[in-house]
Structure formats: C-alpha cells, structure tokens
Amino acid sequence: MEYLENKFFLLAITFGIYFVTRELQRRSGWVLLNPILITIALLIIFLKSFDISYETYNEGGYLIEFWLRPAVVALGVPLYLQLELIKKQIVPIVVSQLIGCMVGIVSVVIVAKLFDASPEVICSLAPKSVTTPIAMEVSKATGGIPSLTAAVVVVVGLFGAICGFKVLQIGRVGSPIAQGLSMGTATHAVGTSAAMEISSKYGAYASLGLTLNGVLTAIFTPIVLRLMGVI
C-alpha cells in the first residue's frame, strides 16, 4: 500500500484521469463531464479512501501547479492576437468589461456579507468570474483560500457552460458579440469553450472577455475589497 504514496504514481494517475475524462467529454459532449472537476473529485476520493495526505500528494502535484503562472503569462499571446479586434470596438468593450468586472466583485461581496460569510471566504469568492490561475493568484494576494477559489471558479464555469446562454436569452441579451463577451467575462475559460462550440466568432469575443476581465479583476479586486472594508 505504501506504493500508492509514490509521487510518480500519483502524477501518473492525475494525468491519466484527466486524459480519459477529456476524451470521454469530447465523445459524449456532456458538459457535466468536465475533466477538471472529475479529476479533482476522483483524486480527492482516492486520497481520502487510502488515507493519503494532501502534503504527500502535492510533492508530485506541485510540479503541475508550477506551470500555472507561466500559463497566465502565455495568455499574453491571445491578447496580442486580439489587439486589433479590441481597438475597433474599444469603447463598448472596455466600458462593458469595466462594469461587468465591478458588478462581479461588488455583488458577490454584498451577498456573501448579507449571509455572514467570513472575510477569508469573501476574499476567496471575489475573483470567481475569471480564469482559475488569475483568480487563485488574486485570492492568494488578498488573503483568500486559493483552493476554495479554484473550486468556486470551476462551479461558475460549469454553470456558464450549462445555463449561460439560457440566462442571456431570458435576460434579453441578443447580439452575438454581447453574448460572447458576457460568457467570457462571467464564466471564463469553461464558458469560452461553450461559446467556441457555437461559432468561432462567439469564441473570439468570449476569449476577449476572459482576458480583459482577468486583467481588470486582478487590478480592481484588492482595491474594491479594501474600499468595502473586507481587508
């Protein structure tokens, strides 16, 4: 049983579960089969069943997590590729991003405060709309719990992929550009992949929303949290 704590074994099953679920999702097209969510859930069940500590798991897991920050830097490339697109519609895009970003942070803080959430939970929830690496960095920088943020971000993304377009329809957001932007702004990479499935135009605007709101949220979350007296 001691072998189960071997870090290369734990790394191998992490890659393995992710690969298999991703293939299954591709073939079935079932959004709930999100490989990120399923891999995390199965690993937690596995570690708990065999009484392996998170610290032991993370000896190997750290090697995967290490690539989070280089991956965020790499987002500079799609941002560069979309600079022309941004320039053409700079005013509507920037204004809707700014307002979307503020609504995202302020509303989650107000509701969480109403329900008596603790400050560290509020800080963990504040960056929930943006892509995980950024959200986790923001959460860490403001005193939240990055792992809790990661889980909430996945839930937000899944909600967007499953119900996002329905919500936009009911909310009378009809223009394709506005729908794409909203999906990326509110529900990051998971919502963007759902938009990408409709058309590449939707997807391009969604990734624009994801990138811009990522930057804006990183800049404004600490400021808003301080102004609202959370930190």
């Binding site: 992710y18 490989p35 990120i36 690993l43 570690l47 708990k48 998170y54 993370n58 997590e65 989070l68 920050r69 280089p70 991956a71 965020v72 830097v73 790499a74 987002l75 500079g76 490339v77 560069y80 005013v91 509507p92 895009i93 204004v95 809707s96 307002i99 979307g100 609504v103 509303s107 989650v108 959430a117 939970v121 709309s129 690496p133 950024i134 986790m136 860490k140 719990i145 990055p146 792992s147 809790l148 990661a150 909430v152 937000v156 909600f159 967007g160 996002g164 919500v167 936009l168 009809g174 550009i177 506005a178 909203s182 702004t185 509110a186 529900t187 990479a189 929303g209 990522g214 930057v215």
Partner: protein
C-alpha cells in the same frame, strides 16, 4: 523550446522583479502577461518565438490547477459551515455579470452609430 522557455520565464521573472521593487498588489504572472503582449506589440519578440509553448499552455490552462483543486480536501469544514453564503453569492453574482455585461455592450453599441451593424 529553450528560446520559448527563456522568453516566457523571462517575462515572469520581470513581473516578479516589478512586484519586488514596487510592492504592487498584482500577481507577477499578470504583469508578465502584459509585458509579453507589449513585447509582441512593439516587435521586440516575434510571435513564432513563443507560439508553440504558449499554445500548449493556453490549451491546457485548466489542467495546471488540478493539484490546487485537490487542496480543497483541506477545507471541507469551511465549505460545510458556509455552504449557503458561498452558493447563493456565487449564483446571484454570476447571473448579474452575464446579463449586465451583455446589456452594457448592447446599449453602448446602439448609442454610437459607428458600432451599429
């Protein structure tokens, strides 16, 4: 691949340096991302010098946070204790961001003739 890693980690290291020197409350990776975009924009870096690695990292963005997500197992008690605040705040806020962002963009486009279809 070595050049790609050198550029990418170079941007990240510069981001770290800026955080270290200014004490700015921004993740070093975000500063690195903005630096990379500017270097590409001003032609200091060519797209093909970085594209292979950046495409790979962006395409697998989600995978890199699996270990941190597993770290959730350390916080089951916090989530159980504050389940409703977390769930309701997240749901309400996400619906608001979706609709308000879309509305704002639609209104802005209508208000400005250049952006009308």
């Amino acid at each position: 691949m070595v050049r790609q890693c050198a550029i990418l980690f170079g941007c990240l290291a510069l981001g770290e340096l800026i955080v270290f020197l200014t004490g700015i409350k921004l993740p070093s990776s975000i500063i690195g991302m903005i630096l990379l975009t500017s270097f590409l924009k001003f032609g200091l870096i060519k797209l093909e010098w970085i594209k292979g690695l950046s495409d790979f990292l962006v395409a697998n963005l989600g995978f890199f946070f699996v270990p941190s997500g597993v770290g959730l197992m350390l916080f089951f008690d916090i989530i159980a204790a504050q389940f409703w605040p977390i769930a309701i705040a997240t749901f309400v806020s996400t619906v608001l961001v979706l609709v308000v962002t879309g509305w704002t963009h639609q209104i802005m486009r209508k208000g400005n003739g250049i952006f009308r279809k």
